[in-house]
Amino acid sequence: MNALLFSSTLVVYVAATVVYLSYLVKPRDVLGRVGQGLVAVGFLVHLGFTLNRYLVAGHTPITNLHESLSFFSLAIVGTFIIFERRYRAAILGSFIIPLALLILVLSIGFSNGIMPLNPALKSKWLFVHTVMAFLGYAAFAVSFAVSIMYLIQSHFLKKRRLGSLFQKLPPLDILDEISYRCLTFGFPLLTFAIISGAIWAETAWGTYWSWDPKETWSLITWFIYAALLHGRLTTGWRGRKAAWLSILGFVIVLFTFLGVNLLMSGLHSYR
């Protein structure tokens, strides 16, 4: 059942990616609508997979890299659906859905067995901490994709190549706004994830902060997005500069999530 749901999700996401990429080449409205439908179906199946795994495992299925990559992908698709509805810009899918697919494909590379929980993970904070963290990461992922769209659009404007893709991409100020809106969700979620992690660490390890690589890198991420949010208050940090910083921020998010787990040893080394 679990494997079937997983592969169905994968198939639907592959189809959605193909549709959205062709939408990029030939922006016909019907392609956008088909992509939208596929993503909605894919999201539901993926959600079903996650819930099923929750029931089978008996705990929040975000305890190893396979599970967390899958949940990350689910969170990105969910965030995309919300923003796509709100801003009615199907083209967002051409950038975000391939990213979600890529992350789900990465999860295949890690053991998909349901592992019993190690003692430190047996806590009610597991749900709060991991779900907040990945919803935050997902918001940052959408901000990243939108920032790339911003840079492409501003490149078109500069070169005066106002082709069909230019017509489909939202105007610069809307892209800037979406990217910023994502941060206004991502940053609070990241903060809540760090705080809930500190409370958990206090009960499990006897200290709310121990400069473990995961803690430090999540703080680094927090510093960068805090800088970006404060930078927007001054003039000149919107638009391109903000887009570049958001891209940098997401690279750091990826390192905080994957790099720390795979390259560094510490209290958070869950594979």
């Binding site: 003692p119 609070p188 499990a204 006897g206 200290t207 430090t216 800088a227 404060h230």
Partner: protein
């Protein structure tokens, strides 16, 4: 002289008030924090010298890279950040306070052009009656307006969530509270580690700084147990702890199970399950020895490392053992021991013996004898992390404030509405501190409701 002095003070003030400094400090802190995740922190010098040269080691030591998050320059950066956010808040707070406490009550032509959302609505009746209509409408649908009369025109002003503008300052303040909590913890608290063998007790703890701290009470480990999953991965570590005052158990603090995520706290000192190991005493092994030919069986008990004589002139010593072999041997469970068996006049033979479930396994060795491990009494010690941190509550207070402040700053918006009522028409204006697009939608909904009503 006086002017330059004053000039310098102003420059210093401006320097600490600047947003550029905040951004510089945030990015700077992010960059230097990376160092401590690449260079292992707090290892003994020998370990560093295995991977880096001595000159590099000395340089890093001078720079404090081996305990970088407590180095003077990192702490200094944190103090600068604190100073910066205090100054920024002091500078900007009065302005924000003015927006909240002294709102613009009258929308004149010039103010109207500065608003991004304005609508003109035609209504029937004289100004005074329209005013009453709008007042009750806004009271019902938005917030109670303040009415000002200027030259026969009525000016209405209503606002919602004005105080959410303070969210940013609540967050800044909460960061300072967290820092204060951390400072209290570092001066008035300690962290240490103790091993208590089963049945033993301790009343002193050696802290990480090498200081011995008298607890003022004692903690006894009644029992330690470890459980495994079928995969061999650890499932639960559990210590039963009893707190003793003057050698007497404290009521309500006896045989308290302490597992990971569920520590024991007594008089501000918290004990966390952290590790375990076999105690120095070693285990006692109960082994049944059966003669293959006669079928005669005897029971012997051997301590770890002890050389025991067996019937028929053989000798046996148990090297090590475990109550559960699953983590070490796939497809087997129960007790197991690594033994060294010396047949009469022969060479020592090392092999493994298991419980009575695995007779055929045990029959593979032992010459004339079949050795079966009936049971073992393994004594453990429990490894406990001991922490006293009177600053923790302050840190939690800061965190709670931060959550409140962040919700105010990110999820709430200060919404304001103005209306200028003249005979037969009303001009509305609106502004929101956040998400202008979303506000425009709800503004339009409000206008539609007014038209219908």
């Amino acid at each position: 002289m006086n002017t330059t002095k004053r000039g310098f003070a102003y420059q210093l003030w401006d320097f600490f008030c600047s947003l550029r400094l905040s951004i510089f400090l945030l990015i700077g802190l992010a960059l230097v924090s990376i160092i401590g995740t690449i260079i292992p922190q707090g290892n003994p010098p020998q370990e560093y010298l295995q991977t880096i040269s001595e000159t590099k080691f000395k340089l890093y030591q001078q720079l404090g890279f081996f305990d970088m998050y407590h180095s003077w320059w990192f702490i200094l950066l944190l103090y600068f950040l604190t100073l910066n956010l205090i100054c920024c808040s002091i500078k900007r707070l009065p302005r924000v306070w003015k927006i909240i406490s002294e709102p613009v009550l009258v929308m004149d032509d010039r103010f109207e052009t500065s608003l991004s959302i304005t609508r003109d609505v035609k209504m029937t009746g004289a100004a005074a009656s329209i005013k009453d209509q709008i007042v009750s409408f806004l009271k019902q649908e938005f917030a109670e307006p303040v009415v000002t009369e200027v030259n026969g025109e009525y000016h209405l002003f209503a606002q919602k969530h004005a105080w959410c503008r303070l969210g940013v300052y609540v967050v800044h303040f909460s960061i300072i509270i967290v820092f204060i909590g951390a400072i209290i913890g570092s001066f008035a608290g300690y962290k240490g580690y103790v091993n208590i063998p089963e049945g033993g007790s301790i009343s002193r703890v050696v802290t990480r700084n090498g200081k011995a701290v008298d607890l003022g009470f004692a903690v006894r480990c009644e029992k330690f147990s470890v459980a495994f999953y079928d995969t061999g991965a650890p499932k639960e570590f559990k210590s039963l702890l009893t707190v003793l005052e003057n050698g007497q158990p404290v009521a309500g603090k006896q045989n308290i199970p302490v597992i990971v995520n569920e520590p024991l706290t007594y008089k501000g000192v918290t004990f966390y399950q952290s590790s375990y190991g076999p105690s120095d005493e070693g285990a006692s092994y109960h082994i049944s020895v059966k003669n293959r030919k006669t079928g005669a069986a005897t029971q012997i008990t051997a301590r770890q490392g002890e050389r025991v004589a067996l019937p028929g002139g053989a000798f046996l010593s148990v090297m090590e053992g475990t109550a559960d072999v699953r983590p070490f041997m796939k497809d087997f469970d129960g007790p197991g021991a690594q033994v060294e068996f010396t047949p009469p006049g022969g060479q020592p033979q090392p092999f493994v013996i298991l419980g009575d479930k695995y007779q055929s396994f045990n029959e593979q060795h032992g010459g004339d004898l079949v050795l079966t491990l009936a049971s073992l009494d393994q004594k453990f010690y429990t490894g406990l992390q001991v922490a006293k941190d009177p600053g923790v509550l302050v840190v939690w207070l800061g965190c709670a404030l931060m959550v409140v402040g962040i919700c105010m700053a990110f999820f709430m918006s200060h919404k304001r509405l103005w209306a200028r009522v003249t005979d037969g028409s009303v001009t509305f204006g609106g502004s929101a501190s956040k998400n202008p697009a979303g506000f425009e939608l709800s503004f339009d909904e409000l206008m539609q409701k007014l038209n219908k009503g």
